[in-house]
Amino acid sequence: MGDRPLDDAELIERAAGGDMHAYEGLVGSYQGIAHRTAYLLTGSSADAEDAAQEAFVKAFYALPRFRPGAPFRPWLLKIVAREAISRRRVAGRTERLNLRLTEVRLSGGAVPSPEAAALRDEDRRELLAAVGRLGERDRLIITCRYWLDLSEAETAEVLGCARGTVKSRLSRALGRLRAAMPADRIDSPTATGGGPGQ
């Protein structure tokens, strides 16, 4: 959970005391994940940059209220996610999110991973588009768990919900995602326990 706790703890403490140089260190460490989070939630590089920047500014002022010893990453990403989502809202962008896939082709000699073999590019595009059609909350939890690889505890912090409800929320989001997919695309096993959302 806590990544590089010692370094971060020290930087956070100094930054909370007003040390801007220390805060620049934190910005440097976390700007990649902050920007990626904002981009995955807005689908716009301009919005993502604005949201990440604004989040770092707000986080700086909120640092004195950061719980010492707590993991910094989900605390920061919660602020980033809120900025990203509100930016999209303020801009009145209600159309579905437009994320694109990188154009990577398997070269002839490469051995595809089992996942890659199971999933054709067309399937991937369908899946990505279906996620883009989901509501904000569903997209946020899917983004946290699968695209940012956050743990359940980190996801709970970003969502501002109890840790115990991440599983059920995720299961409902996956149910709605299945419902948003064309029937012949991704197979719909009921293994996650939630079943298709109502």
Binding site: G18, H35, Y61, L127, W147, G160, A162, T192
Partner: protein, 267 residues
Amino acid sequence: MNRRPGPLPSQLERALSDVGTKIQVPRAPDLAASVRSRLESQTARRGPIPAPRLALVAAVLLIAVLGGAFLFSSSAREAVAGWLGIRGVDIVEDAPTPAPTHPDAGLPLGRRSSLEEARKLVPFEIALPAAPGLGRPDEVYVAETAYGGRSVSLVYRADHSLPSAAGTGVGLLVTEFEAGLRDDLMQKVRTAGVEVEPVRVGTSSAYWISGEPHLVLLLDPSGNVIEDRTRLAGDTLLWERGRVSLRLESGLGKGRALRIARSMRAP
């Protein structure tokens, strides 16, 4: 396609992870310089940066409290020193009390919710009183706090065993908010005729505030004080339970308020 029910993680979950590695994300800009210049220009406008700023606020509050010290009992004065140590909660003296709110006008507690929904909406376990005659609240509200956290309010209507409280017009109001996140700094503005008494709830320090109704204040993340002018609080017990701060308002008096507080359990 295969239709066998795959083991966890499901095929859909694996597909999502796979897609995640292939989404085109533009290169992250270097934000350090822009964040720094934003902070410097804001600091120039808004004054000192966080820690000094908070210390300043705390100092102002402390001066305000000490300025009104003649109104305090000696035990309350001792409590003041410890006060700023209780996370998120302060009591200060301030200008005259505005007119009390009318109970009928409804309490500004946020959005009406259910206990089940509220449990999903707040990132902490909601504690309920286990004292006889209480238990499930009549109404539950969830509010956004000044800095993105959430508070939950449990309302118990007045009846023969629960007198209507002066500040709220309901029998019992319990508000729980996460002070551990430091999103909330809640203060009460003290006015003449308000008694402050340090008490204990279990192992936690607690404060019993009684007498005249007092204002409820919030601090936003930048340290700005936001007055909740919508209502005044009556007799109040304030304490902490883990990282959650609780506020209990009732017309029951100190003894029963403490008994209820001590009975509070998270499921």
